[in-house]
Structure formats: structure tokens, C-alpha cells
Point group: D2
């Protein structure tokens, strides 16, 4: 961490700042320029926030050099992390497709979709039981009943299941869930992240709608700091000024994340686009950019879907996409 | 709600759509143009999401006419809501200043700051006991111990207290808190909002960093739909491309919210700017734009603050701002 | 275009509005609902702006149904446009790589880079002679001297050249340029666009840093309305809150643009990312998403580049990328 | 400027970098930490761009300490600049209201509006003759004919006129214009800025829709570097994700700009909001935040306005706002 002092910084105040820093156990390294003085901090600065130091009157600016995340940092763990989900691998050169409906609705729907996506080659089944909806008057999901239907679909097909948690209070209900998803709106629900750090189960952490890449990594760090290092990151589109799509898929986040962290990175083209016809090209782009998986919404009757029908593929359309996914992952050297 | 059909919409599919709509208890009103057909929906469309209808192949676009919030809607409640906090009024022509440190640190700090801000004219005391921090390695707040210190400061000064909740699991600890704050990161923590809807206590709901005005109102609606109508909205800056300030204060949100809802609207200039010298001009702008209150960070020793020191005012600086706040609110016809 | 009237719209004022609309040569189609009245406009609404109609007190909201662009609209021209540049085709299934330095610096540099990129398989040569720089104190480009050096490189290699224009006043100097580029900052320099509409030469139109997809198409329409229909669109990254990359590449813009327009769409991964290591994955993503070409910065000595060195590839690195580009375009059914 | 080297930077490459820096006439100041080495650059770094230095492999990051603008910098010119427009002062404690229609339409309209706004207390008259329109099919303004009508309105009322230029090629037509406006879309039309730097006339420079505060100051610097130091900056709303207003007024830009530059700063509440009812509260907020003026759209018949009718005030509504403007500027210590 580097502190640039103000040009006309008062001597006594600078001393007060230095004292504060030394008391934090840091070594200081001064560099006196013509009109700027720089203090380099040597030691563990992970716990220091630039904002704290900027409270000192004499400080012009503070710049962090090292990333504030440790366990998620690739420099600490150069090899790609590979997550094992009931024997299915995700990460490294292993590519997985997670497919299923936005929300769990009926037993028939879940089992039918599960069988369809399995037949097309999906490796994991998704489905929402607890649904974060903007409006209190929208369908809120079947809750624990939905989790039961998901487990029946798992039993029928053998596909591991991925589903979203909305509160740590529900954690007991997720015992048989294979991958717990944290949605974009809860990416900085730190109390939830802390609880998920205490369990031993893969966590699919979606990037918040307007969270930076570094904030996503800090949220992963919350889970990892608690002891659970099985975190899968998911880029699902960010909020921008563009209104012709639901969100703007930040495809650059894939190579950028992979340079910063060893954790696997997947893409959710369905939520990013919000429009059916874009799911295929964005899936292809995700594979080409180096993603370790994709998450695709499939519904056996999109027009009757209780949510997000406009972005769901029919099982037939999904099957067509999967044929291309298989060839394309192979072309880019991934194993499905 | 208006549905515009595609130019070449197949008759049979349009019938299927109409049937679906009628089954939802809606009356349809058709309008056949040269190359567009429009279906107007008559009835309660609050529970319908445009995305659901767009799943139908024949639908070109869906436009909501009425806002999806009811209880928060000014059209349902033309007079300004006035919230009573231990006898202090907020809303209508009543203006309140909420002041105090970012985080509760020690008994001395809290009591000292509380006495100072009271002497300067603040009506409520703020202080964070549970702190949402981007990094798991940053100071996380004193938790329940912090709540006790806040209550001691309340006892010493008589100022009602405002403090943030991060999980519904902590709700029991908030029994003696006067106003419960929901932070920007939890604005769409719907499980928390639902729980807050069940209690009888004012809720200070901060706008999410990248939440639209309508999403803020929908989150207020979550609380109100549960039965708790004492919601205070807070604009605290949104995330944009501009990097010279911490956030971009959306001052237009004040008159826009006041036209859409009867709920009181306050502004947090400290978090919006993130820089001390901007607190005063942004406070003045908030009053001028019609806000019902402001929330200002004050610390007796900003350089030793455990968080956000760079935006905290000293008690002396706060006192100077308050002298102007008193004159300015009076000029704009508000009562403090 | 659809006009929704306010619930309590005064009869006389509605008549005034209707009169205004009829005087514009439009037919009106009324639809009276329970609490909303809708006026559908039949006829050419291209010249009407929603804002104009919203000036009427009785109007609640105005919604455009048809896109306001005509010549760029795919519905008017279902086949992909293919642009011919000195015999090289771009668009349809023809993919082109445009490569070269950010700015033209010396004869040696230009000829050397041109020979290198040609050897690696680039189809067109780029290089900036007039440079739009944020600071007046930065290198502003060699101007007309730079254009001469570009033409020498063209002579030496046979590669058609692409270079940016910054003012219609310079148009005479661009007689021998093969493709004229309009930079992001000039995407809405309408006076320039009008002049480019009068010539007969391909125009490479870059999307503005914060322009919507529809605004990009409207700018293309400015050129096309003047008679020059040879427009190539270029996605080069948009401005968002994310700071770890220079810009956020909006990869979804590729399939979205291709659904809305027949014009070819290329991607500039160098400017989007602003960092060397991301050029290759973003190039792959662009191909996978359906782009018709890419524009890549190559410099024979990036450390001595007078601008944008940090995103320029060396000729060797470019050659590696091109080997993958050839295989990948072939895999996705494109011809180079 | 500070350069942070990579941890494992190769000695020989570091030497190459140092040589490059010394050749630019800079003195280097090294600071060797445990795992980071920092090079501080002493001398004039205005012409150096961080991107250039980041092209060097050994560079981890580059941080500018001093702002890259000189003439606009308050540190070079601590007193507020006051611009004199035909004897009317703008800046320092002088507040001006610029009012008039979005576009010049007829002689009657211009003279009528001019007389009205003068009677209400406006100091300058605005009106667009050359209009930047998103669509080539929208009304493009009356051009030179419009300028004549503006001059007639000036003759009739004595109000100095402010009008927008869209191309340096039109400069001759602006001889009798008192203040030349550069619109948001042309804020980085550098060729135009350079030409405006050569004349001796106040320039009203509007902030680009997604330009940072520093970019605005760099564009002002373009004009000032040419010799014309009469630049008035205008905040007119930025583009964000929020859709309930046309733009998001960045009110914080007012105090932030005033801390960075000595140039006067005005606000355009009409374009920022795009909705009539918000013009008054945003005008009040602008005054309270310290703006030196506002620019308000007034039309004698908004429903017949050829553009932007929905945000124009009638002369009566403007008169009401002006009564409050007079009292409020006085309250905040400004002179009109």
C-alpha cells in the first residue's frame, strides 16, 4: 500500500500518521520527491482500508498494490481449482452445463425437464425453490416443497442439483442439495456468506448486478475465510445504461477473473440476455472466452413458466444448443 | 398493462395467449391497427410480470401502465406520511438530522458524539453495530455489544437511535432500537424485508447502489405488504462511471420519489460523497430539493475511526453545518 | 407509436392533441379501457419524437413500436450486407482482421508492421494519423503526414487502409483511404456523419462509449440517409462502473445488432480490454458470438508506442493469435 | 507520477524503462520496498500518459499524482474566474439564468419568449439554431436562419445570446453570438475545441453524457491551451442505469468541479431531468450546491415545440421559478 502525502503536509501531523501506521505493525518506507512524499507500507495490509488512512488530513491519496483477497488469489494457488460435485468435475479443463427451469413448479415439470436436459448432455440440474422477486406480489417459489421436487428429479435422473438459498435460516433445508447458489442480490449478504463458509459443500456465487470483479472476489473470500474453499464464480450480466438487453454480459470478466483467481468461472447467458435467441451466441462466446461452464434456463413450456419464460429454451432448443456446446468445448480443448 | 403483438402473429397462438390472460381474471381490450394489434389488460395486473407474457412467441412487447406498488403509491395515499420516532416527527414539513459515527467503537466515543450532535441540534443518533464490510478481514462491528453502547448513549442523551440490521436472525437484539436501518447491500434481501414487515417499528430503507427508484419502492412495498407501513426511504448515492466521488448522489431521486410515493425521503450526503468537504454542499442541495432529512457521519476523532473516517465530520465541523441546516430548512419552509 | 393518455385527461385537451396528430398526416386508432385510453398512431412516425408528444399535459406515456431507423433496418433488407473493400469482402460469411498500430509514427514502423500483419493473414491495415486524445498535451498524431505514411505501407503491401477522420474539414485528405473510421467520441458528430453520407466509400462506425445500440444504428442511418450505405459497425467496449478493464466489451451487442440490422458488425478487442493478455480471449469470443471481423492493435515496439502501448500486441504475439483466428473462424463457418 | 514495478521485474528491462524516462527529461526517485519497487517521476509529466508506461512489461501499475490540466487548475489560479458577457458577470458571486427555447422556430416565438424571460429576470437568452438530433429524420434546426432570428430577439430585448455550434465550419456564422455553446455530444470533438481556443469569446462547455469530471476539465483545457480562457462549464446530467429520468443530474459535480477549477460552473436542470415538474427542485438544488448559474428551457407553447417540449416551462411557470431563484440566490449569498 502506498500513501501519497499532500504537498504542504504539516510535519507534526505526518508524525501522527506514521505513529498510527507503526502501531498497526507495519514498516514504513519513505520516498521524498520534489513536491510529493510517498510512504510505502511493508507488511500485511489486508486489514487496512484506504478510506481509513484518507481520514488523515495530510494524506493526498492511498493506493493499494496487493489485492485484499488471499485465499481466492491465484498468486497463492497457481493451479486451477477443480470442484467435485458428486463425481462430476468443474474447473481446470472440465466444462459443465447446468440446466433447468427458473423456478420449480410441479413434480411433472421438474422430472420431465430433468430427463430432457440429461438426455441432451447437461451435467447438473438447476431449479429455484426460493425465488428472489422484485415484487412481493410475484410468485415467490414453492420453498421447501420445491426442494423436495428437486430431490425427486435428482432421484429420477441422478443429476446433482443446484438451487438458490435466500437466508441462512433455511440452511437446514439444504442438506441434500449438491450445490448451493447465492444469487446476485445476495452477493453482499455477508451474514449469509459467513454461514456458507462453515459448511462443506460447493457454493455457486453469482456476481452482483453492479458489483466489481474485485468485490465478487472479496465475497468469495468471505466464504473461503470460513473454511469452505469450494466456490464457483458466475458472471450473469451487469447493469449498464443499455436497455435492449436485460443485462450486459461482461464477457471480459471471464479472462480477467481467471487471471486473478484459481476458482472456476461459469457464465449464465440466460439471465444476462433475458432473451431466448441470444442464449446460443452468448454460450458460444462464454466457451470461447474460457469459461468452465454455463447455466441455461430450460422449461418444458416456457409460455406457462411462472417466471422468466422469455429467456427459457424449450427442451428441443436446448438440445440443439447442446450439440454445438459439445463440439465447441471440444474445439477449445475442454472436457464435458 | 398493454401487450403489442407481432405483425405476423399466428391466429391460433394469439388465441392461446388470450385464453391465458382471461384465466388470470383479466378483461381484454383489443385494438387492431394497420400493422400492429394491441391488447389492453383491464383488472389487477400487479401480480403479472412483463417477462412472463413476453415468453409468448406472438408478443412483440409488453408495457406496464400502472406502477406495480400499491401501498407505497402516492395515488393511494395523497398526503405525505409522517413517521413518529419517540415523539420526533419525520416527513410532511418535519425535517430531521440523523447524526453519529459510522461504527460504534467505545462507550466514550458514543456518549461523547451523542452529546455533541445533540447539542448541535441533531434529532436522532446513528451508529453501526453490525457492519457490512466488503472484506472479511475488515472490522465487522461490535455486534450486540455495540447495540448496548448505543442504548447507553440514548440513555445519556435521550436521542432515539438508528442502527443497521444485517440478518433477520438478529432481530431479537433490536427490541430497543428506535429505527432499524436496512443498508444498500440488503435492499433486495427479501427474506429480511419480509421479517421487517411483521414488526411495528420505523424502517430506514437505503437505496441499493444500483437499484432503480422503482425497485426501491418495490422493496418498501415488501415491508408495507407485511403490515409495517413506517418506511423511510434514503437516497445514498448510486454507482456510476464517475470515479472522483465514492458514489453519485442522485438528487433527482428526491423530487421523483416524492411524486411517486407518500413515504418520507432522506439523503445521506456522507456516503454519497465519501469526502468530507462535500457533505455541506450536498446537505444544502438535499434540503433545497425537498428532502425530509439527512444522515450525517460525525466522529470525535475521524483519524482514529475504524471505518469511513475520510467522510466523517468532526463535532465542530458538524456544528457549523447544523447552523446552516437550521437556517436553510427554515428558508425552505421545513420545521426541525 | 402508442400514446397512453392520463386517467383524468380533459376532453378539450385530448381533442387538441388529436388535431395535432391528424395534422401530421397520421391516422388515429383509439382504444378506450376502464381507466386508460390508448391512441395508436398509424402512418410514418419516423419523424416524431416521443418527447414532443409528452409535452402535452394529457399524455401519460408514449411508446415507439417501430424502430426509428429505416435503411439500417434488417426488416427492410433481410440479407446480410457485404462490404467490398478493394476486392476484400466483409460481412455475410466473410471475416476480416484489421490490424496495425494505434498511431502512425514513422515510415519504418508502418511498413514493418504492415508487412508483419500481412504475413500473419490480416486483410486490412489500420493506423491513426489524426488522433482524438483526452489531453491537448498528448501526441495528436502526424496528421496528413501520417496519411502519406499509411499510403506508403499500402503501396508496399497491397493492404487496403483504415484510418480515423476527426473533422469533415479533413475529408479531402482522405481521397486514397479505403475505409474511413469514425471514432467513438465522434459517433454523434452529426455534421461529420452527414458529410460521410455524401461520399462513396466504406465507413467504419465505432459505437460511442456510452451509446445505446439504437443510437449506434441511428448514427449509421445518418450516413445511409445521405446515400452512402457502406457502413460497418464496430463494438469497442462501453463505459460501466467496472474499473479492472478499460471498457466493458458488450459482446451481446453482436447478436443483438445482427438481429436488428443487415450491416456487418466487427469487434475491437484491443480498445475494449485495454490490456494485452485479454486480446486473444476476447477475439475468440467475438468470433463465437458471430462478429464479421476484429480490429487488433499491433506495434513492432509496444514500449515505444506513442499511444496505447499497453494493449498492443507484438507482431509475434499477433501471429499466434492469427493462427487461432484462422482455425476458429473456420470452425464457426466463416471465410477469411 | 508514480510507477510501481512488478515483484519479479527483470533488471535489464527495468534499466530500459529508466532510460526511457530519463530521455523524456524526467528525474527518477527510487524507493525499494520488501516486495515492491516504486519509481517516482519528478518533472513535467503532463505529456505522459499512464497507458504508455504500462506498455512496459515490468510495470505493475502507474498512478498520476498531479492533475493533467494546467490552465483550468485551481491550484494555478486560486480565485474564481468571472466571465464577462456584454457586461453581465457569471462566476465568483455572480449568478446568471440563461433561458429560452430548445430550438429557434419563428421570429414571433423568439421575440416573445425573449421578452418574457427578460421580464422574469433572465440574464441571457438561449435558443438552438443548429440542433444535434439522434435521428436524421428529426427537425435539425433552422441553421443560419435561426441565428438571424436569435439576433433579432437580442436586438428587441438587449439580452446576450447563447447558442450551440456543431462544426468549426460554421464558425463564421457565430460572429455576433455572445456565448458559443458546445453540446454534450461534442465535448470531445477535439477539432472543434481547438478552433474555439483561437477565438476571443465565452464558451459554454457542456459535460458529455458519460464523461468524467476530469475529462470535462481536459476538454476545457483544450480550449484554454489555445488561448481562450473564457470557459463556462455546464453539468447537464449523466447517463446511468436509472430510467425514470432522462439523465441523472450529478449535483456533486458542482462542489467537486469548484474545488478542482477556477472556472464557473452552471447546471442545466431541464436536460438533466427531461420532465417539467423537476426543473424547479433541481434549480434550487443547483443554487444550494454552489452553482454559478442555471440554464432553463422556456417555450411559449410547449405542446407545439419542435423539440423537447416535455421539459420546457411556459413563461408563466418560468416566472414562478424565477421568483424563487431570486430569493434563493440571495439567501445563499449570490448576486443576480
Amino acid at each position: 500500500m502506498i500513501i501519497v502525502l499532500k504537498k504542504d503536509a504539516e510535519e507534526a501531523k505526518v508524525e501522527k500518521l506514521k505513529e498510527n501506521l507503526v502501531n498497526r505493525g507495519l514498516k514504513l518506507h519513505l520516498s521524498q520527491g520534489e513536491d510529493t512524499t510517498i510512504i510505502g507500507l511493508v507488511g500485511d495490509t489486508t486489514e487496512i482500508e484506504p478510506e481509513q488512512l484518507q481520514a488523515f488530513d495530510v494524506v493526498e491519496t492511498v493506493k493499494r498494490i496487493k489485492e485484499p483477497y488471499k485465499k481466492a488469489n491465484r498468486s497463492m494457488h497457481p493451479q486451477d481449482s477443480v470442484i467435485d460435485i458428486c463425481g462430476k468435475k468443474l474447473g481446470g479443463n472440465h466444462f459443465q452445463v447446468i440446466a433447468g427451469p427458473c423456478s420449480v413448479e410441479t413434480r411433472e415439470q421438474m422430472v420431465e425437464v430433468a430427463e430432457d436436459v440429461k438426455a441432451s448432455g447437461a451435467g447438473l440440474l438447476r431449479g429455484g425453490a426460493f425465488k428472489p422477486r422484485t415484487s412481493p406480489y410475484s410468485f415467490q417459489g414453492l420453498g421447501s416443497e420445491g426442494l423436495k421436487l428437486l430431490l425427486e428429479a435428482k432421484k429420477a435422473t441422478g443429476l446433482p442439483i443446484v438451487t438458490e438459498i435466500m437466508s441462512a435460516a433455511h440452511l437446514d433445508l439444504f442438506d441434500d442439495v449438491d450445490v448451493i447458489q447465492v444469487g446476485a442480490r445476495n452477493m453482499q449478504n455477508f451474514e449469509l456468506l459467513k454461514e456458507l463458509g462453515k459448511i462443506n459443500k460447493p457454493i455457486l456465487l453469482k456476481r452482483g448486478m453492479s458489483s466489481t470483479i474485485d468485490e465478487l472476489l472479496m465475497s468469495a473470500e468471505y466464504i473461503m475465510a470460513g473454511g469452505n474453499e469450494q466456490v464457483i464464480l458466475c458472471e450473469r450480466g451487469i447493469r449498464t445504461f443499455e436497455t435492449s438487453m436485460r443485462n450486459t454480459l461482461d464477457i471480459s470478466a471471464v479472462p480477467m477473473l481467471k487471471s486473478k483467481t484459481h476458482l472456476p468461472v461459469i457464465v449464465d447467458p440466460s439471465h444476462a440476455a433475458g432473451i431466448r435467441f441470444m442464449v446460443e451466441p452468448l454460450t458460444m462466446a462464454a466457451i470461447a472466452a474460457g469459461a468452465d461452464g454455463v447455466m441455461i434456463e430450460v422449461h418444458n413450456n416456457p409460455e406457462k413458466a411462472l417466471c422468466d419464460g422469455m429467456q427459457s429454451l424449450t427442451p428441443q432448443a436446448f438440445d440443439d444448443v447442446m450439440k454445438k456446446v459439445k463440439k465447441t468445448t471440444e474445439f477449445f480443448g475442454k472436457v464435458m
